[in-house]
Every structure is written in C-alpha cells, then in structure tokens.
Symmetry: C2
C-alpha cells in the first residue's frame, strides 16, 4: 500500500527484541463485563507491564535498536509521566544512561519513580520554557539520542506488540479498541491487527475534550485543538503526530470519545469487579465499551487495551470520591 511506513514485520521485529524483557501481560475476562456490554471482551492488561504501562514496549524497542556508539552516549526524553519511567527503565536494562526533562512542578512521587530507575532528572519551568527546544539542546550538547513518546517507527512498532500478543492469545477478535493519545499505540496495534486479521475493526478512544485524532481523521489532515482538560492525563495530546497520523489514517476505522465520568465509572468497575488498578487513560477503552459507545461489539469478540495503571492510592482515592 502506498505510503505505508509501518508493517507487521516491524512489530514482529520489536517482539523479538522485547522477548524475555517486557512482560507478556495477561488477557483478562469478566462474565459481569460481558453481560453488561453484550459482547465477549478480552482485556489486555498493560497495567501489569514493566513500568506500569505499555510505554516500556516502545522505549525498549528503540533504545535496544541504537548502534553501540549511539547507545553508549545515552538517551534523553521529556515526559512527566509513563514515558519517563519507561525510558529510564529501558536505559538501565540496556546499560546506558537516561536524562529526563520533567516539569519542576511534577509530583514528587513521579520524580522519585523516574529517579528510582537511575535516570538523571533535569527540571524546567513548564510555563516559561519550551521542552522540545530544551530537549533538542540537551541532545545536541551532550550527544544524546532523543526518545520520543510516539513519533518514531520503532516506538510505534514496539507499542504495537501489545496487539500482536493479544491476537496470539485471542486470534478470532472481531473488534479491537485502543486508547489514543499521541497515536503511537493505536498505530502499532492497528498495523499488526489489520495484517493478522484483515476483517478486524479498529476503534480508537479519545477523551471527549481531547478528540484531536477524531477531528483530524474526519478532516483528512492534522487538526490542532486547545490542550484538553481531562483526568486522562496520558491522552492530553492537542494534535496527532505526523507519523502516527499518516499511519492511523490508513489503519484506524473510527474514533469514539468518552467523558471523564465514563472513565471514572470504568475505573471503579475494573477495581470492584476485576481487581484491576487502572489510571484514567488506562481505563478509557473499557470505558467506551461500558458506556455503549462501540455498538459494533454487540455479540462479537472485542479486544480492548488497558494501557496503564500508574495512579497512586491517594490519587485514586481522590478520583473515586463521589463515585
């Protein structure tokens, strides 16, 4: 297909690099969930991935692919969240150093978690400084390779191993539901899924206030929206990536959106009924199923990705107040 820049082979190559390093996360089911949504749901639980989210798959795939002199110099990333922990952990496992740019007002728990994997943390003022420029300057000055959160074929391919594993465990899926932030996870997952099972329908899920990919796919070009306000802090992208959008316009069938309340309901449901710890972004795909936003799952076998579980007990308690 013209313009294809990501293939099943890329995802398979990533799976080879991740074998024995990333966790093969479980695929979980619930009779109660199935009864509630009128479908057979298979949840790929990336909350149990190393670093607590799917991000490790992409970071490790990219860093392990660097040639030895590049890798020896170290890597840099900017993130206040799961990507920071993923890059730190992957760098440590691969024997190199990571420098992570984090906003100065990042919660201490997140700074600790990232520092705990051995990364050097450089803070910046998120209101007056530009993290992309700072990251580029650091990379240039120190000769570091920048590891982006989604905008790279090796990142997308690594993240796509999530769907590769899910389809190995459940080859007969009719629908695959994947959360969308910058679009790397769904790009890799949809690429793998469509190649393995051409008839599968791939549905992305965005927060209602953060539907930049939905709008972009409708418009046929990348659309920028105001930075979304949502509890789903892993899905606050304001514009799709260039590369992820180029892939997703070919392999994603549709995007649906969920409200913060629908996400909170899903977090409580997953906790109560399946004993799963999910962060808001991590629960958005099951939230779309529970809220009835994916009518094509009726009577079908629906895979859904729980993308992460990095929420502290205190923050979880705060979010659940009133649920």
């Amino acid at each position: 297909m013209a313009g294809v820049m990501l293939s099943l082979d890329d995802v398979r190559a990533a799976a080879g690099r991740l074998a024995g390093v990333a966790h093969r996360t479980p695929v979980l089911t619930s009779r109660t969930l199935d009864e509630r949504i009128g479908a057979s749901a298979l949840l790929k639980a990336e909350c149990f991935q190393r670093g607590g989210a799917f991000k490790f798959r992409g970071a490790y795939n990219m860093i392990s692919s660097l040639d030895p002199p590049q890798r020896a110099r170290g890597v840099v990333a900017y993130s206040s969240g799961n990507h920071a922990q993923a890059v730190s952990l992957a760098a440590r496992l691969l024997g190199t150093s990571a420098t992570i740019l984090m906003p100065a007002d990042t919660p201490p728990a997140k700074l600790d978690a990232t520092g705990g994997y051995g990364a050097e943390i450089v803070t910046y003022d998120r209101y007056t400084e530009d993290r992309e420029a700072l990251g580029a300057a650091l990379a240039d000055e120190r000769g570091l390779v920048l590891v982006p959160p989604y905008e790279h074929p090796l990142i997308m391919a690594g993240q796509g191993t999530t769907a590769l594993e899910l389809l190995e465990d459940a080859p007969d899926l009719d629908v695959l539901v994947v959360p969308v932030g910058g679009g790397g996870l769904i790009a890799g997952c949809a690429t793998a899924a469509k190649a393995l099972r051409p008839g599968i329908r791939v549905v992305g899920v965005e927060p209602a206030t953060g539907d930049d990919t939905r709008r972009s796919l409708e418009a046929g070009e990348r659309v920028r929206i105001p930075v979304p306000r949502t509890i789903a802090d892993g899905q606050q992208a304001d514009i799709p990536g260039k590369l992820t959008f180029a892939v997703n316009r070919q392999v994603v069938d549709t995007i649906v959106t969920v409200s913060d309340d629908e996400i909170l309901y899903a977090m409580a449901f997953l906790f109560d009924r399946m004993k799963l710890v999910t962060e808001p972004s991590g629960a958005s795909a099951p939230a779309a199923l529970l809220a009835g936003h994916v009518p094509e799952v009726a009577g079908a076998r629906a895979g859904a990705v729980i993308s992460g579980g990095n929420v502290g007990a205190a923050r979880f308690a705060e979010l659940m107040a009133g649920q």
Copy 2:
C-alpha cells in the same frame, strides 16, 4: 503423627477437584518489595481467585464432595463476606442451590454480589438473633448441608491448595507467611507446606487486636478474646476453631501481629507498586513483611498469601484517605 487429622493427601485430593475450576492464581514478585524487606518475596495473589478470595477453594472442595442426594438438597452458610460469595458461586457451578444467612444490615453491594451468583439470601438481625442457631434450624428444616467457613477438614484441605500451588511454582521457599482468621487457610497451607518441605517455617499473621490464635498457641488451649475491632474484617474471629486449632498447634511455628496502620500502608504499597487490589485482611501477610515483623525472612525466600481483594473502590478510597 498422633492426632493428625489433615494430610498432604487431603490437600492433593482437593487440588484434583479444583483443577480447571478454581483459578491457578499468579505468584507475583516486586524488586521494590524485595529491596524494602531484604528478602525475596513471592506473593500468591488470591485476590484474583474466583469470588475474589481464597474462600472458593474450600467451599467448592466441600460441596463437590457431597454425595448426590445431599448435594441435590442444597447447602446453607452464614457469612456477610467472602465465604458467602464463595459458597454461592460453588453451589451454582455444581448445579445445586445455596441459602445464605446474612445480617440485615449487610451493605447492599455485598448482598448484590452474593445474590448475583444465584443464592437465596435470608437476613437476620445480628443484634438479637443467633446465626448459628438459625443456620442449624434452616439446615434441619430444609435438609440442607451446612458449609462452614473453616471448621471442616474439606474446607481446610481446599484452602490449603493455595500453598500447594505456591510451592509447585516456588519449591525452595524458606518461610511461608499466611493470614489467620478462623485458621482454616493456614491449617491447610501449613499442612501442605510442612509435608512438601519439612524445614519450612510457617508464620501466621493476625490483627494486633485479634490475636486469639497467637494467645491460644501460647496457652496450649483455645482462648476466647473480645470480638476484635480492626479494619481486617476477614480476621475478626474471637476464638480459633476446634479443628483448625488442633491442626495449627502441630504445624504453625509462630504468629505475629499487624496494626491497622501497617495494613493500610501495605494496601497502598501493593496498589502503588504492584497494581494489586487487596482488602485489609488480604494485605495482612505482606503488611507483616513490610513492617519487619518476620525477621526470619532476612536473606531468605519468603512466600506470602494475599488472601483476597474484595474491597469496593469507594471503601478503598475511604480507607486510603490520609495515607
């Protein structure tokens, strides 16, 4: 050994009945936990068991062992908690009916969970009525078999399959840490563990206010204490069972206690670091490790049972307020 009324063979027979029915729950590890306690910890996660707790193992083992006419008449149990759900679920799977006596002021969520498995719920006033007499009367009147929460060899043997599986997955354990309520879980687990690995040290964990088994083992006879006040509602026994005590005095090495605060700390740790949902009783064994109450684990391989995860998101949020 004189007086032995429970053997490894009983536990193995139970494992045979449970094969393909109970979940083989995962054994989970955490580098952070190991660093914190200076040991290699292996957590048997019964929060992922059917019905959300280890109780299913005993209930199913007993009900599946009834002869056909007995089983056809149905079973009765009294419990406001995990045992109620376990008996209801086991009865449904075995094609019989369950009647569950529950206090009239049981939270609606627990009534629903139990009723959801198809049991008939009979409520009573816990302040004016005697549940044991009511249960016996119902059993008599309707010809039902009473399924006790711990005081039966088949219940203890079924619950002991928890340790049988753990030792299959981790045969070289030095210490096994198990929560103690009525004493059925530890009776079955210690029986299996001591038979498979005679040198293993078995440590029970009780709430600090509910140390009836610790006192009883010290006294050499069953000691009754005031009904304990603790958040660990699965461990509010005020006196050990006759049968469980007779077993435990032979196979349990020592009992340690944990405070409610130590349990809450462990619940938050397990949530934050391992993405595990645990109820207070379910977290008491890891709590003893984290609080340093089991010094014999230093440098050793320590198994610990997470006995259940039946806590709602709202109740969890309440408990975590201030953590």
